[in-house]
């Protein structure tokens, strides 16, 4: 399971927490506090996932991402709420 919380608009600060086994792909580190590089448009989940894959994921990317999104079976919470509550358009 991957939970993501964010604060700040200009320089998005983001804290991600991985648990339920997902942390094993990230060298066992559960909590990640990161500052994302600033860009003109706001970050969306697709970009965040690509960024996580490039910068935080340590092994076996096929177990975490599949195509544009996370592998089926991985639950994602944004600000402690299921991301399925939001429409695809808002996220990706």
């Amino acid at each position: 399971m991957c939970t993501v919380g964010s604060e700040g608009q200009t320089k998005p600060r983001n804290s991600s927490s991985l648990q339920g086994g997902a942390e094993l792909l990230f060298d066992g580190v559960k909590e990640h506090h990161v500052t994302l590089p600033s860009q003109s448009e706001p970050w969306d989940m697709k970009q965040l996932l690509v960024w996580i894959q490039r910068n935080l994921l340590k092994e076996r990317p096929e177990l975490f991402v599949q195509g544009d999104t996370v592998r089926p079976g991985i639950l994602v919470l944004i600000n402690d709420a299921d991301w399925e509550l939001m429409s695809r358009k808002q996220l990706l």
Binding site: M1, Q19, G20, G21, L24, R71, P72, G73, L75, L77, D80, A81, D82, E84, L85, M86, S87, K89, Q90
Partner: protein, 382 residues
């Protein structure tokens, strides 16, 4: 007239729909305009007051924490009542591994036992397969659960029951069929633990995803006997040493179990068993997860199909008897556990894997095996 499936209110589905449409009249237009809806929190479809924290795959409802807890717990309660799983005064052993399913099961069983006065005496039973690094950690979690839920705990180990730990078994058997050994031994180990604790029933944390995976696996393997039995929510008592068992979480989605444990901050241990990466179930699981992402009701639908399967008359089915060596339930002369153990003790790791029933007779009667037969049973895949 359909009652609202949220479990909480007693409105009809029609009333709920009218109420929601009138309260959120402007919502469809806002969504179409695609403005700052990303920021607008979705409200709980049950209480309409608090922010929703999850979308239930089973029903599509968006629920807040409190309504979700209530819905989850009450659905398990309804499952227990509808299937008449327990009787007042019974002692029930909760199979606990320290994982998310059994932790949630222990939590919910204790809660419902008190809330609805089931009158049950609850205990935890745990099995130590002897997998270094994996089982040690999860057993620590079970011991913590024992303290947290204040329930008695019994741990049975493969070492004391069979004289073999999983580590030792994998050294002999390799990494392809080891799950067969573990599953067969664990089933019997749970029964032995239950008999030692003198419980009337065992309940396990199998969830909807597990049952659906099992249905798919049995279809893929063409195992009609298992396919018929695997969706049963409880097993009847089948003789001495076999304790009836049931699955109160049979209709609970794995996603909801994970989120229940997360939001309730329950203490559980989660890591993949180090010996399981090649397990056949993994393929069924991947397929099921893909199906769920397209159509979440697939999991319940597969269970429903499995429950409603009927077998044509005249199809040959195995007859349940007893093992001639240990008396445990078996459809062959020797139960699977005895066959596997014999194979381990005689250095023939493939005995019991695949179909070698003719050889079982030879082994039972202590006849010597030919070199060819021995070679077939010795070959191992690492």
């Amino acid at each position: 007239m359909l009652l609202c499936p949220c479990v909480r209110c007693s409105h009809t589905v029609e009333e709920q729909w009218i109420r929601r449409m009138s309260e959120h009249q402007s919502a469809p237009e806002q969504l179409a305009a695609g403005k700052s809806q990303a920021r607008m929190p979705v409200l709980c479809s049950s209480c309409s007051e608090k922010r929703a924290v999850l979308k239930r795959p089973k029903t599509g409802h968006s629920l807040c924490k409190a309504c979700f807890f209530w819905a989850f717990e009450e659905e398990v309660h309804r499952t227990i009542v509808a299937a008449k799983l327990f009787r007042p005064g019974e002692t029930v052993g909760i199979a606990a591994s320290g994982g998310k399913d059994s932790t949630v099961l222990a939590h919910v069983m204790k809660l419902l036992n008190e809330r609805h006065s089931y009158g049950l005496e609850l205990m935890l039973i745990s099995v130590d397969e002897g997998i270094t690094g994996y089982r040690d950690d999860s057993l620590e979690t079970v011991k913590r659960n024992q303290q947290q839920y204040e329930l008695p705990l019994k741990i049975v180990s493969y070492e004391e029951l069979y004289g073999w730990t999983m580590d030792a078994i994998v050294k002999q058997v390799g990494l392809k069929n080891n799950c067969t050994f573990c599953g067969v031994f664990r089933r019997q180990a749970l029964d032995r633990g239950a008999v030692m604790l003198k419980v009337d029933k065992i309940c396990t944390g199998h969830n909807a995803d597990d049952v659906a995976e099992t249905v798919l696996m049995n279809i893929l393997r063409g195992d009609i006997a298992r396919l018929r039995r695997c969706t049963a929510i409880s097993t009847a008592s089948e003789g001495d040493g076999v304790v009836p068992r049931c699955k109160p979480l049979k209709y609970a989605y794995e996603k909801e179990i994970v989120l229940y444990a997360y939001f309730k901050k329950l203490d559980y241990f989660s890591t993949e068993c180090i010996y399981s990466p090649n397990a056949y179930r993994g393929y069924a699981r991947t397929f099921l997860k893909d199906l769920e992402s397209i159509r979440p009701s697939s999991i319940m639908d597969i269970i429903h199909s499995g429950e409603n399967l009927s077998v044509r008359e005249g199809v040959k089915m195995p007859v349940q008897g007893t093992c001639s060596r240990c008396g445990y339930i078996s459809s062959q002369a020797l139960c699977k556990s005895c066959v596997l153990l014999e194979g381990l003790n005689r250095g023939l790791p493939k005995l019991g894997i695949g179909k070698h029933h003719r050889l079982h007779e030879k082994i039972l009667s202590q006849q010597p095996l030919t070199e060819r037969e021995k070679r077939k049973l010795k070959s191992v895949d690492f």
